[in-house]
Structures are given as C-alpha cells and as structure tokens.
Amino acid sequence: MSERTFHDVWVSGTEEPEWLLEATDEGAQKMQPEEPEERLLEQEGARVVDDYVVEEESPEDELMIINMGPQHPSTHGVLRLQLELEGEIIRRSKPIIGYLHTGMEKTGEQLTFMQGPTNVTRMDYLAPMHNELAFSLAVEQLLEIEIPPRAQAIRILMTELNRVSSHLVFLATAGMDIGALSMMLYGFRERESILAFFEKTTGLRMNHNYIRPGGVAADLPDGWEDDVEGIVEKVNRGVLDYEDLLKQNPIWLERTQGVGVVTAEESLAYGITGPNLRASGVNWDLRKAQPYSGIDQYEFDVPVGQHGDVYDRYRIRVQEILQSLRIVRQVADRMPKGDYRTEDRKVSPPPRARIDQSMEALIHHFKIYTGGVKVPEGEVYVAIESPRGELGAYLVSDGGTHPWRMHMRTPSFCNLQALPVAMADSLVADTVATISSLDPVLGDVDR
C-alpha cells in the first residue's frame, strides 16, 4: 500500500504552497496519488484474494439498477438515486428530485415583498438567514434604499453565525454517514448554542424571518456580546475536538481521500459554487469577489482545496468555521450604533409607540400592512455566498406590491447535478460519503 498522508487546504493569507503556485486559470487541481493497481483490482472485485473462483460471466448479471431513496437515511432528505451497477462499481447514476417541491416560487408571487422573507427562509432550512438576506438585498436594490450600518453589521453577524451552524451540521451528518457517530453528537452540541442565540434574538430557532427588506426585524437583545463571545469560544474549542476525532483518523482518511473527486473544470462546467468549488482548487468566494452588506471591511481568508475529493470538502468546511468565527468576533468588536432598519417610512413600519402620537405614523403603518410596499418596475439578480454556494435571488417587479416573478438560484439544486460526475466509476460504498460531502439540503433543491 502506498504512503497516504493527510493534507490540509490552503488558507489565503498564509504562505502559498508549491502546488498552488502551479495553478492555472482553471484552478490548482491535482489528482490524488492512485492506489496500487492490485489494491484497486481487489476493491473492484476483479482480483480475487480468497479461493472463490469466478465462473463464466453471462451478460444478464453485468448490470444492475438499484434505487436508493427517497427515504434512505443518508440521503439528507427525500432524494432518490438510480444507480446502474456493474458489480460493486457505479457506472451511471441519476438523481431524482422533486419529493419536497412545495411551489415556493409560485407562493412568492402571491405574497408581498414584505412577506417574502417568511417564504424564502423555508427553502434552505439550514441557512435561513442567507435566504432572507439574498431576497432582501434584491428588493432593496430595486427600491434603491440605503441600509444603516448597524443593520448591515447585524446581517453579517447573523449570516456568519448561520454559516457556522450550517457547517457544523455538515460535519455532524457527514461524520454520521461515514460511521463517526460521536462527530454527530459533537456537531449538534455546538450548533445548539448558536440556535439558542438565534432564538433569543429572533424568537425562533429556524425560519426566522429576521432579515427583512429595509434592515432587520429587531435589535440584538441585551447582553448579546457575552452570548456571541461564548459561542465563539465554545465552537473554537469544539473544532479542536473534531480535529482530534477526524483529521488524522486512518479510517476517516481511507473513506474520504480520493473519493468522489470533482475536478475544477467539471465544477465550473456544472456551475458548482461555494465550498465544493473551492475544494477543487478554485479560489472563488463571493464575499471577496463581489462583497455585500459591507463584508469587505472585515478580515478573513478563503480556504482553497487541492484534490476536490471528500476529504478536501470536509477540510474546507472546518477552515470556514474558523474564518466565520473570525468575522463574527470582528463584527462584535466593531458593532456600530444607530438604527437597525432604515427610517424610510415608505419601506419600514414606524415603532408601535409612534402610532399613538402621530397621524403620519398611523398612515404609514396602515399602508405597509394592508397594501404593502410598492417596488419600482425592473428586474434584478443579487447573489450572496451561502454555506452551500452562490445563492441568488432573481426578482421581477411590475411596479406593484407583489413580485411579478420570484426565482431563487439555490446552490444545492445546481451542486446536485454533479453527483453523477462525482460518483461515476466509484464504489457503491462511497455513494453515501459523496452525497454528504456535496452537502445538499433537499429543501434548497426542491423549493
């Protein structure tokens, strides 16, 4: 057996490793050293090590079609896969989706722009804040309104915390899928502290409807600094545990390295974005390239992988947790004072107390909650970096209070297309590892 070492992803801001210097436009992809021929043959079943004798092959038993899902526990929801097997090897596969389709884009046309976040937050249920942010940014760009600095900082704080909680679920479920059950318990343990903070701030653990066009729904609660500091410390400490558990664990390395490889060219051709793209060696992060909500004022680095395999995708997520915590800490240190939503009364409702004193406030309140906010005619596409990749909102307004068309470009939908590529000619046993490493959320896929 050849020497297998664990490698780490490169984090920008540190010294560039040799493999990255040889990077081309397509990325810095490098293939895993292949296993020795004999071992591969053994794995595929072509070379037999015991006394079992292969009898004459007949064409009938060459190919077998297996349905996996839609209720398989490791498909992360209701995803169905059709696998065409030749022995132990997957020759072709086809993901079949739509089991969780609830027509949210159609529903979005029935809701006003102000009600929209309630709807979109339910798409990617592991990253609700990002959905709300993408939708709100699109509406704000059509309205051409300015968002106060405090609202922007709160948005970054919440989305980055949400990224951490989403990646923790990734680590938890990926660990569970591959057999590291304790990882599942640890991941959910740390995530709980973030959800508790979300509940304290927004009233709900998930589906917050917290980030709305014009700002955020409410200011941060008293004592939020201590909560955030506690979360940062707790998760940082937790990550050390995960590193002990997985980073050099021989079983983990064996199950993940060189498995489910997607090259940089394939990633770009299939429109893969986010951590899965960076794992293939492409240094592309929308937070750096096309910054939103003032995220460019905070210091953070972008982890970039090398091999595009399951192991790199896992490493990227671990590093991104640390980078997001860096951002969170900076936001908490520099949180500006001021309004948490715009004072433009055509967009955001007045405080409840003002309604008793001012006729104007009453009118604005009434107009916003009965009719809605009129958004100028136009169409816009706004994209942000969600934990799964580029999350875009395409909005068409006809000048009324409801979107004429609301389309969300959800990253999981696109990333799932690459599953057949990642799984082609791999072993059945690696299917589960590959699915969980692409991190699809079926609510995000089917909408």
């Binding site: 884009e105 390239a289 136009g378 596409y381 389309h407 696109c414």
Partner: protein, 160 residues
C-alpha cells in the same frame, strides 16, 4: 458602471441583433431567440466559464411576447456577470438548449420546461423534474391559478 465592458462589446459586435443594456445597474444582453445558443457559446469562449442560473418569466398581459428565458453567466476570471435574455412567443415555445455549451444547464432547463412549458431543443432528457411525471399544466405560468387544482391522489389498484 454605465459603459459597456470590452468583453461584452466583442460579443455584441459578433452578432446582428444582440443588444447590450443595463437593468438595475447590471449587464444584460438582449438576444434574439434564434441566436440563443450561439451567443452563449460566444460568451463561453470569451471567458464566461460558468452558467449560474437559467430560468424564465411569464409576462402574460404585460408584453406582446409572452415568455422570456433568462440565463445568468459568470466569469470568474474577469469577475463579471452578464444576463442573457431572449423573448419566446407563446406560439413557438422552443429554444435551443444550452446543455452542449454548459452541461450545468441540464436541471435548469428541465425545471423551465416543467414550470413554463418551454421546450429546449437538443436537451438530452426533457422530462419533468419537480412536479410528478403525470402532472398536467405548467404551474408557474400566470394563467395557472393557485388553489384551483384538486389534490391528486392515486388510488390503490386493488383492495389489500
């Protein structure tokens, strides 16, 4: 940004009838339906490596031409986005598929067919993707009303 990026300029020059414009400050290329795939190919050659999104809009009662297909392209090298828009009349809802250019268009075009009934010529697998296979109608069309469709249940073929 009110001037055309030279990269887009070179694409507009190549084709007759392709126009550049800004929509909410974002680059848009208005493409005749017949040139849909050729323009996408030219964009890919010019450095737009990735198709991030493809969808459609139904402008029933708003415009003379009912549908519009929209494709969002991204160039990582130039950090540039462009949106291709082509109008599709109701009586000829067939557009050239972008799958030969960008394989990632596969799911998106299936979704557009499913939701709007716009067919893509040259697509390898033009089937429904989100709705059940036996569904009737295309839900995101504007004349497809909400709440008027009885819920479809399949009866059990025989008593168990």
């Amino acid at each position: 940004m009110s001037e055309m990026h030279p990269l887009l300029g070179s694409i507009v020059e190549q084709f007759d009838g392709v126009q550049w414009g800004l929509s909410s400050g974002q680059n848009v290329l208005f493409v005749p339906k017949a040139l849909w795939r050729d323009v996408a190919q030219a964009c890919k050659d010019a450095g737009f490596e990735s198709l991030v999104d493809e969808t459609a809009v139904d402008y029933l009662g708003k415009r003379d031409v009912r549908f519009e297909v929209v494709a969002n392209l991204l160039s990582l090298r130039h950090n540039l986005r462009v949106r291709l828009r082509a109008q599709v009349p109701e009586d000829d809802t067939t557009v050239a598929s972008l799958v030969p250019v960008y394989p990632g268009a596969n799911f998106y075009e299936r979704e557009v067919w499913d939701m709007f009934g716009i067919t893509f010529e040259g697509h390898p697998d033009m089937t429904r993707i989100l709705m059940p296979d036996d569904w009737e109608g295309h839900p995101l069309r504007k004349d497809y009303q909400v709440g008027t469709v009885p819920v479809q249940f399949k009866s059990s073929p025989e008593a168990r």
